[in-house]
Symmetry: C2
Subunit: 462 residues, 2 copies
């Protein structure tokens, strides 16, 4: 069933068609394209797809849908990993990819305002000649709107924060079509409730984000990248802890286990030593990046670190980080025809070594193929379970593993999702993670979306 309710959806579709003309579609191929993401959640097409061009148009769309109690699901690049954009109850998919402009750029203020449909790579392409960059980099080339909606982060979060930290202000269309701006453009404010942070990570369940003011950073004078192998996982993690503790302002500090390195080597045609490895990046002045690299090299040596190689050559850095970014795709490629199930736990860093070690034992005991890769400076790591979707036993084993991962993270006072979000896939863990606080989330949802039309069936269990 795709229709939101059993009632006749023709009137709402007719009104939307009248409003949007050619930028409205009920074609099966268009609907199918908007009924899936990169998760292994079961696809389900929306009843129709709209392609708005402005905030005001989104507001008109939402007003029509509200009048008919018709679900509204915002859609960007479709790269979410927990079924966020899959319209579990049908409704209208609002595809924001045609709203992809940079509306404003201030090099003096190190900020810009963009529409939600621009991708992170397109934004950085736009910024290239300004000397500025936007650091948040989930694996996929996601849209900025989707990244804000899911509170995304990536490899740079240890230095630059997550979307929580990098969004200055949002324009949001609410469930009744009202338009709000959540904050002025000042760097900080103590003026009332922090609505910006409330909508960042709300996954389209409280409103549709139609403009985003973002912090930007100056491209560092010098950038160097390094890799270092480790005899043991514990040694690598201890090196990370020491690096963070000693205040080295590392820009990236990523871990990959031997299985992940093997997959990367095959996929990206590299010959990295097949051992636990840290990937690092340093930003600063020429002197500072050298000093940082030397400091980490010394710490690595104390913790069983082996080959420490570093480079400031852009092409070598790019190749290394592209390989790191392709880690998930590299894992998938190890089992052609299979799909990935990415877990995404984040724990206090003091619990990280124990949590990863327990995870590796779990993987071995259950005979799973699941390389480990992580943003370990934040205590965040992923296992990329590669599974044959057509084999019910594998699917069951994958679900069971995913649940063990989530519950293990909670035992270590961590979260079931560091950066992928709840979507539909992790709703079942929310109560275990937050307890009574989920009731507060529900009160807020009910207050702002009493008809439950904004991406229903996500974050909060129906």
């Amino acid at each position: 069933m795709t229709a939101a309710k059993a009632h006749n959806i023709q009137p709402v579709l007719a009104e939307l068609a009248a409003l949007l003309g050619a930028r409205f579609s009920t074609a099966q191929a268009v609907r199918d394209h908007h009924g899936k993401d990169e998760s292994w959640a079961v696809p389900a097409p929306p009843d129709a797809v709209a392609f708005p061009h402005s905030t005001e148009e989104v507001a008109e769309i939402v007003k029509i849908c509200a009048a008919h109690e018709f679900p509204v699901i915002a859609f960007g690049a479709g790269t979410s990993l927990e079924g966020h954009v899959i319209p579990s109850r049908g409704g209208l998919c609002v595809d924001l990819t045609q709203m992809d402009k940079v509306l404003r750029l201030s090099t003096a203020d190190l900020d810009c305002t963009v529409q939600p449909g621009i991708t992170r790579k397109a934004l950085n392409e736009y910024l290239r000649d300004t000397g500025l960059f936007f650091p948040i980099d989930p694996g996929a080339n996601a849209t900025i709107g989707g990244m804000a909606a899911t509170r995304a982060s990536g490899t740079n979060a240890v230095r630059y924060g997550t979307m929580r930290d990098c969004v200055l202000s949002l324009t949001v269309v609410l469930a009744d079509g009202r338009i709000i701006r959540t904050a002025r453009r000042a760097r900080k404010s103590a003026a009332g409730y922090d609505l910006t942070r409330l909508f960042v990570g709300s996954e389209g369940t409280l409103g549709i984000i139609t403009e985003i003011a973002l912090r930007l950073w100056g491209i560092p004078e010098a950038i160097s990248a390094a890799t270092c192998t480790f005899e043991t996982l514990e040694g690598a993690v201890d090196c990370v802890i020491q690096t963070i503790q000693s205040g080295v302002p590392v820009a990236r500090i990523e871990l990959a286990d031997d299985k992940q390195i093997d997959a990367i080597n095959r996929y990206s045609k590299l010959d990295l030593p097949v051992q636990t490895m840290l990937f690092l990046e340093f930003h600063g002045t020429a002197a500072s990046v050298k000093e940082q690299a030397e400091a980490v090299q010394a710490l690595a040596a104390e913790h069983g670190g082996g080959r420490f190689e570093w480079t400031t050559k852009p092409e070598e850095r790019t190749r290394l980080w592209q390989a790191r970014h392709d880690a998930a795709y590299a894992a998938y490629a190890m089992r052609p025809g299979c799909k990935g199930l990415a877990t995404d736990v984040c724990v206090p860093i003091s619990n990280l070594a124990a949590c990863i070690a327990e995870t590796k034992r779990d993987i071995d005991e259950h005979g799973l193929y699941a390389p480990i890769v992580g943003h370990v400076g934040d205590g965040n790591f992923h296992t990329v379970l590669v599974i044959d979707r057509n084999n019910p036993e594998e699917v069951e084993a994958g679900d069971a593993f995913s649940e063990r991962m989530a519950l293990r993270a909670l035992r270590y006072d961590g979260t079931c999702t560091g950066e992928h979000g709840i979507g539909s896939g992790k709703m079942k863990y929310l109560l275990a993670e937050h307890g009574e606080a989920v009731a507060v989330m529900r009160q807020i949802k009910n207050a702002l979306d009493p008809l439950n039309i904004m991406n229903p069936g996500k974050i909060l269990m129906p």
Copy 2:
């Protein structure tokens, strides 16, 4: 009138007395002490004061008050600047200063959990031998609970962020006595709505914060402080913009105008040149702080900077920063018997020079005494208007100036409060700043506190 409603408040007071015994008071002196803050809002005593010892006790207190629809006002050090803690409708003041313990400290995770009543100085005293520190430093020695509730910041925010960024998780007693924990202790999470950020800055209007998990930082290997005079205000601000833009990871970059320097010299017995001046601090390795200071010195020279003096000697740094921290008290001391009215605007940094210049003209045109001091790296600055509260003309002129400051900041796409909060003093500007978004704040308030007992009459106009 102090009673919340015309109805008899003896039953609720009797229940509270039975619960708390000697830690409950209706003595006039105790009530008077809890009826004022450091603002020039008119004092008003609560009907009674409670001194709880635990989260559970706060929950019991709130349950009793909820049953009687009796207002509940959280109280820390009483240093707020916008009347936050003044019980405008009477009710119970919940003084949290006896809940002042550090509950947990993790040097590996660089975090701790504290009770709300501990002050920022007491926390740093506690941390002294651990090699860690907590950077957020409003002028007053406020409590951590009060700082979280008002989204406070201070001189280090340009490097370390505000309370928004430094709070990992909160335990909160809600308006009906339920207890929630807003997040796990992981550094980042994408698990549901960001309740932590919703309660940070909610000024006691959504619940009472009873535990705070905080990020900490390692004390830098080297710290150096510098001062530099400038021929013009514009030159100083341009130097700040260039410093931020070029990515110098400055820890503090503060501006004081000639009048403020004069007041500081008299109050702190210093002989700083009476000119616009930047106060800077650099954190890092020995080599890095030297490099940072040199970079800023070069930028200062390009913008009319004069004497650039820097030091790594702890006693000199401390004396300099104590003087900076006492800036407001120094201004008050210029007119004994008068009270200060601190404005607190924050604008995009590209608008900062224009906004400050317009402010100085305003001060001159109206013949006011109002030194300027600011956290200019964030675009935040204060004027400290010193006024004779017994002179109605001065009071009227002060109110009018404060309003011009707020509206000027909004014209420059800034906020009427960078770090002091709304309280009762700035409620009238909230709608001008946020427009329709205020309605969303009100929906949230109504959903979480339907009886309007949590610090009523603050943030949102009745």
